[in-house]
Homo-oligomer: 606 residues x 2
């Protein structure tokens, strides 16, 4: 799966001001730098700061929601925290996932002492199978449930057995070169989420992402406030914390409150329940099973990831369910509708997931019938709203009642709101603060919050991916002025990795907008004259059958251009003629239609 990575694009210019944000690759390894200097290879590298400083490099997750990954470097040692993926937005047609650019880490892979994964969500583990092999399969350290999810993912990519996946407990102390790591449990929508206190030669760093303070968590395992307070008392040089909900006032509701809503809902529903949820939200799944057991419903589980994750969570004791509550769909007919609940994936309206297939009527075992109630237990990830809305309409059309986050409090976030974020700062009392995990405006909002907590503006660092925060033994911090390390997006599409670059994406965008228009000119190589009538192949531009006139006129225009310019074969491959045809016909089509299809002139020489 990771054989074709020869092309690694610069980050596409997402409405960013003017310039195309291209990071120049560079070396941080002094030895390599010296060698390169000696051999005259060094052209763009300028970053040569002290090896006695701690360097923090967000590789992803500070300019977007997703693809979370951070590197810490001190002396000869590098550790990496998380390896997540992000989902493409609508400027990236056809792309399955985005992962961080890891060129710099690849160049420094012999110095990587370990990879720590904070929890088992895809935006933290999803890139593991794509990136680990590129880094020489370094060892991974993580909690039991996360370890099981990581292994499952590696297994799906036939990569199991390469990197060693070490299971840690929250009370372990990990020594990785110059870094000593201690952990503390936090609450999130998946069990075994941990924050990290990293002791380095210049001071202590707390890295805590995807957390909330839930005083009544479903699994009874609360955040370890005592540990956080103790780390705070020891002195924290830098806090890195989750910005997802930095714009939201107050506190995030406890997961247990959602359980009460689920319970009440189950109590009222007469027909079948179809419950859609993230397959990794084990606590929500627990509450679903609790409600099903209480109201005497058997459960049918559909969706590969749901089945897998429930198996893993059950085997590790993270999920406790009534014996024999799960039945196969064939057994459903033995029970009346009010004794059936169906658990499925697809709460985000994803095309291929269970609920979307149910809503389209093409799920192989679940068919909606009148009297069903579908509960979508999630809030939309931005960008998914219309797909979810269409899915809800399809479900109602098939006869299901629908319950979702706008109609009922059927979801709570796993990410801390403002008051919780402030409490984290109060407990850890950091000198410096780096908001992570969010789009830039969320990061900035989190920085504003830190100011209200008394952290001076000069001590707050909102970095871009690939920028480097350097902290020294005098307890000073600054963003280095050296160029960023390579930090573009790597697009994943089908089997290829990184071979869909900016050019390919831009072409897809153009063709999606106004289609394409291929003009084939078959020329006599001796005199540059057309042998045949020009051929036109067009798709996605206009309805060809109804527009014979336009096509005829275009062919006439092409003929004229070839007759006046065709003789001048000034450049190889008729580049001059092709450019003229592209420009003139492009303009002609725009005049006639106000559309700009991609015009592709082709010369066939006979």
């Amino acid at each position: 799966m990771m054989r074709r990575q020869n092309f690694r694009p610069p980050r596409p210019n997402h409405n960013r001001s003017g310039s195309t944000a291209v990071a120049t690759p560079q070396k941080t390894d002094r030895l390599e730098s010296l060698i390169e200097k000696a051999t005259g290879l060094l052209t763009t590298s300028r970053y040569t700061s002290s090896r006695q400083n701690l360097r923090i490099i967000p590789m992803g997750g500070v300019e977007e929601v997703g693809e979370n990954m951070t590197a810490l470097e001190f002396g000869d040692d590098i550790i990496v925290i998380d390896m997540g993926l992000a989902f493409p937005d609508d400027t990236m047609p056809g792309i399955d996932y985005i992962i961080p650019d890891t060129k710099w880490l690849e160049e420094n892979k012999r110095r990587i002492r370990g990879v720590i994964i904070t929890h088992g969500h895809l935006d933290h583990i999803g890139a593991v199978p794509y990136i680990l092999p590129k880094l020489g399969d370094p060892p991974v350290y993580t909690m039991a449930l996360t370890a099981a999810f990581v292994k499952k993912r590696l297994e799906e990519f036939s990569l199991l057995g390469r990197s060693k996946i070490n299971t840690i407990t929250k009370d372990d102390v990990l020594a990785l070169g110059n870094f000593k790591l201690r952990f503390f449990r936090v609450n999130h929508s998946i069990p075994d989420s941990v924050g990290i206190c990293i002791t380095t030669p210049v001071g202590q760093v707390i890295y805590v992402t995807d957390w909330k303070f839930d005083h009544t968590p479903v699994d009874g395992k609360a955040t370890e406030f005592d540990k956080i307070a103790r780390f705070g008392a020891e002195g924290i040089l830098l806090l890195m914390s989750d910005s997802t909900n930095a714009i939201k006032p107050g506190y995030c509701a406890s997961e247990r409150e959602i359980g009460l809503t689920i319970d009440r809902t189950f109590n009222e529903i007469k027909g079948r329940v179809i419950f859609a949820n993230f397959s990794t939200s084990i606590s929500r799944i627990q509450q679903f099973f609790d409600a099903a057991a209480k109201y005497n419903r058997k459960v049918i589980v559909t969706g590969r990831s749901m089945v897998n994750n429930i198996e893993i969570a059950l085997s590790l004791g993270y999920l406790k369910i009534q014996p024999k509550i799960i039945i196969k769909s064939e057994q459903a007919k033995k029970f009346p509708d009010n004794q059936i609940a169906i658990l499925t994936t697809g709460a985000q309206g994803e095309d291929a997931a269970g609920l979307a297939r149910i809503a389209r009527g093409d799920h192989k075992t679940v068919k909606i019938k009148k009297g069903d109630t579908t509960i979508v237990s999630a809030s939309p990830i931005p960008g998914n709203e219309r797909a979810i809305s269409a899915m809800l309409s399809n479900l109602t059309r098939l006869g299901s009642h629908v319950i979702y986050n706008k109609t009922l409090d059927i979801h709570t976030s796993g990410h801390a709101h403002q008051e919780e974020l402030k409490l984290m700062m109060a407990l850890t009392k950091p000198k410096f603060f780096m908001p992570i995990h969010g789009e830039h405006h969320m990061i900035v909002a989190h920085g504003e919050l830190a100011k209200t907590m008394g952290i001076p503006e000069t001590n707050i660092f909102s970095l871009d991916n690939g920028q480097i925060l350097e902290l020294n033994s005098a307890k000073e911090a600054k963003v280095t002025e050296d160029p960023k390390i390579s930090s573009g997006y790597v697009f994943i599409d089908g089997l290829g990795i990184g071979d869909v670059g900016e050019v390919v994406i831009r072409d897809r965008q153009v063709m999606a907008q106004d289609g394409m228009f291929v003009i084939i000119m078959t020329l006599d190589r001796r005199n540059g004259k057309l042998i045949n009538q020009p051929d036109i192949i067009s798709r996605g531009f206009i309805y060809m059958k109804g527009n014979d006139d336009l096509i005829r006129e275009v062919k006439h225009e092409v003929r004229k251009l070839v007759e006046s310019k065709g003789k001048e074969k000034l450049e190889p491959n008729w580049a001059y003629l092709r450019n003229i045809v592209r420009d003139e016909i492009g303009e002609y089509l725009y005049q006639k239609t106000e559309r700009r299809p991609m015009v592709l002139p082709v010369v066939i020489e006979i």
Copy 2:
């Protein structure tokens, strides 16, 4: 602009269950039916119901948010209410707008007695320039502000002076054939919004869309509860009402409350204010100007539609502002930053609108500087979330503070929530109820609400676009079992109308996903042998330069196929060979890449 309407596509199958939802066109005009029967043309028409029944036909707006349009028919008379457009979703790449299919109305245009427009938003007036001319430019009846907006829109399309635009007042009584229309003022985010009480020979219908009950409206003009109650007392056969917020409990906040937030915000902001808003939300604009005046700020207005609409609203007295408060951008440097406020369009993150250009740094007069505060005074229309979020990040990156609906109550809806919807039912006491204006699941939720108000389920009608509700003099109602009238989407892209159909959209989708792959085979017409090496033109599929091997292999495969199949010119244009090449190479590319570009084989005969 409306010259090329020869292609009118069936509605694309938006994740709908299985079948391609194609409405068969039909006639409702008995005379025409008879003529067609006589001439043997009638194949699909079966709808022949009584001319003495009232027929209500939603042409758009009951399966989506947008493209609102409804027809009422009795005897020889048809009236049309609203002519809106909808914005495309991400399954419709490159499309500017969607408008309703009006084939049935075009066929019956001589019977159209008038078009009534309820208010001046684009989802109610946007299709006017596209549709009015197709219907023989029937007269339009609407309130003063709406009339001005409609005229402006017609003017932009050089259509002014064709349809007569009649200005009515809310107390006028309009007689249009068998229909008598009376109006009542409602509150909405634009002044001059009215509901309609339509007296017909079989009973009275209330049509009320885009309304809320605002007891403290900014313009001091409250909903005419007395009129609504009086119509209710007269007896209402059918209520048609707005479902946009049928899923939202409670009441919609008063626009005036937003004014308090705007005032408080202005009070706190030290630098410049950039305020983004819909150009039609005159009440919000009023409150913006009030705050600007109170805090001694001059106003720069940018954006063509904002300038136009403010001019219209000022000239008609719907907007009252301090003399000389508006300045030109060149004059800004005469004032300190805390005396400047900038009013712009683009609150939805629209690419071409003012705020997006400001955020990209390419607005011609407004450049963000540190200390600015941008207020986005709108909530995202579903589908726009990611664009807005990216825009906010760009604004913070340029140094602006950002305030939007998640951080502060800077927006309220113009659409009634559940308690208001129930009050409307209580006031009008309709026998029958038809929820309109919303996606199907919102329509269904509104129907559920009607049940709680005691309207029997059998009296609630949730129609699809093009379905017909028939009400007779015995006060009975039913959805006719005849096929729907033609009700697909008409896509508008550039200059053409309706010439971008389902085929073109599907091609764009395919190319957006995995690109395209043109294979040009130049064959000797006498023996079917390749004269040249096959040529490959591909875009949006893979990065061509890095994948020479794949291209070479494909050419080899094509060569083999031509050699084995090329001689068999069984069909004209080498259709057989082209099909084989399309299938085999398509499969070959999928095996190698797991992508499915659009494969287009071309044969050039020499």
